[in-house]
Amino acid sequence: MIAFIKKQLTQAGKFSRFIGRFFRELFVPPFQFNEFIRQCYTIGYKSLPLVGITGFIMGLVLTIQSRPTMTKFGAESWLPGMVSLSLIREIAPVITALICAGKIASGIGAELGSMKVTSQLNAMEVSAINPYKYLVVTRVLASTLMVPLLVILADLVGIYGGYIGYNVHSSIGLLRYFSEVIENLDFLDIIPATIKTFFFGFFIGVIGCYKGFNASGGTASVGRAANSAVVTASLSIFVVDMLAVQITDLFY
């Protein structure tokens, strides 16, 4: 039991050190700009269709599902506001982050894991290229910056999905719908929700890299690294979300 606790604490310590190293390396030049751009492309642009489809479906389904209840309360006209609020505040960030955890964290975990077991990391190391800087810093930074952008687009697409969903049973103009949405929004809905997506992105990247970097042994460990990256990243998203919501709640 004590050994188990010690092992967990060691893991936590190693992980914290990994994060600490990220911030140290981030501010030490040279910065691998090309690799960063390439990772932004892979993480941001390539995830777009997936995130878009999920966002659209979430908006559509949420509207259709909420309608009976709202109609019961005679508040059908509040549907656009309610759907957009729940999308922006909670659903789009969390769902997008989970999708990204599935796509990005596993991708990074598997990529770095396989590089580790085929000694590509060592190869970089011995050719005096800092693999942490080249691989980790760029990926973590890219996912930290790209996930918020993906969430913003997921918000937009999700709200549009809500518009389609609303027009299934009643009709409203697109302009009227969006002005209804804007009317119901506040900076307190947007800003904390956006800030927390940076943390989502950061943890997705960091956990993917950490798991990949610490893969050891044969090819099986690559699969393990990818799997554990997704699980840990998803869990961390919920934990971060909980913390973010509680902190936001203090200010509201």
Binding site: N34, I37, R38, C40, Y41, G44, Y45, L48, K72, F73, G74, L149, L150, I152, L153, D155, L156, I182, E183, L185, D186, F187, I190, T194
Partner: protein, 319 residues
């Protein structure tokens, strides 16, 4: 290498579009809260703001022109409300305008409504003070409504009792107006009176016989004439009474109809019942409005129940 360069523009597009969406959202929200563009401030003091919050809308003639910026205490019983309003509408607000706190719908947010004054032509200044009308809160409204509902209930109850008494014929008036037996007895009395008069005529004929002693006594023409005159007058008045009672008995008469018709009484009764249920419903509206969120659903249920009740009521009336 070439492949990578080809993708860069896609990444650029992605980043720019996302940032544009974000900025547009921020801009529009800011616009809806009047953070951008030319604005001016107005202030007003209240004793009670009834839950008005920062960010609530300010309406002028029902159009949203700004929002509440700040709500502060100035003393233990006064609150000053600061609002931000689009500069473009400043010229429509005169110094004698006043503000009222209202609500956006029955259960919506509070809004601050600016009502134009009548006399002044002077336009308000930035950070100017304008007068306030204390809010008519839903609670006050509900209190008033409740009082009038109670009054209406009392009135209907009395009305109902009154008509019940008329219908069931317990009062004197009712007896006079509706008892058939009574009018028959009047008729009988009059008939008796008529036969009495007939006999009297026979008697007077005998008296007119020239052979009787009484006749002799009575044959004085002057005396006889005077008696005859009296009698004919008597006869005439009896006939008049007869006509009156006949009319009274006859159901076609207006008074009679009003006073004796059973159907009429019933319909009066049902009107009163309707009135009573109407009041009850009014009471229920008040009740429902208190449970604000459930408003519509509650009404729907009540409508169904009402329809059912009405059907039953019609059935009982038919019976």
């Amino acid at each position: 290498m070439k492949k990578r360069k080809d993708n860069t523009w896609k990444l650029g597009l992605f980043v720019i579009v996302s940032l544009a969406v974000f900025l547009a959202t921020v801009y529009f929200i800011g616009k809806s809260q009047n953070l951008f563009g030319a604005t001016f401030h107005l202030q007003s003091t209240f004793k009670n703001v009834n839950g008005l919050k920062i960010g609530n809308n300010v309406l002028l003639s029902g159009i949203s022109i700004g929002s509440i910026k700040k709500i502060d205490f100035v003393s233990d019983s006064t609150v000053v409300v600061n609002m931000v309003i689009r500069s473009s509408v400043q010229k429509y607000i005169k110094t004698d305008a006043f503000v009222t706190i209202g609500s956006d719908g029955l259960m919506g947010d509070k809004v601050l409504m600016i009502s134009p004054g009548t006399n002044s032509r002077e336009i308000v200044k930035d950070y100017g003070m304008i007068a306030s009308n204390e809010a008519v809160s839903i609670e006050n409204l509900m209190g008033g409504l409740k009082k009038s509902i109670n009054n209406a209930e009392i009135i209907t109850k009395e009305l109902s009792e009154f008509s019940y008494k008329i219908n069931n014929g317990k009062g004197v008036l009712s007896k006079v107006l509706t008892d058939e037996e009574f009018s028959k007895s009047i008729g009988r009395t009059l008939k008796n009176l008529e036969t009495g008069t007939d006999e009297f005529v026979v008697f007077t004929k005998k008296m007119n016989d020239k052979n009787g002693t009484l006749s002799k006594l009575m044959t004085d023409p002057a005396y006889a004439y005077s008696i005859k005159k009296t009698l004919s007058a008597f006869e005439k008045s009896a006939a008049d009474i007869n006509v009156f009672t006949a009319k009274l008995n006859n159901e076609k008469g207006i008074v009679s109809k009003l006073l004796t018709d059973d159907k009429m009484a019933n319909s009066l009764d049902s009107t009163l019942i309707n009135l009573k249920t109407g009041t009850k419903k009014l009471n229920e509206i008040g009740e429902a409005a208190k449970h604000n969120f459930l408003l519509r659903g509650y009404f729907k249920k009540q409508e169904k129940a009402k329809a059912k009740k009405e059907k039953e009521l019609q059935k009982t009336i038919k019976k």
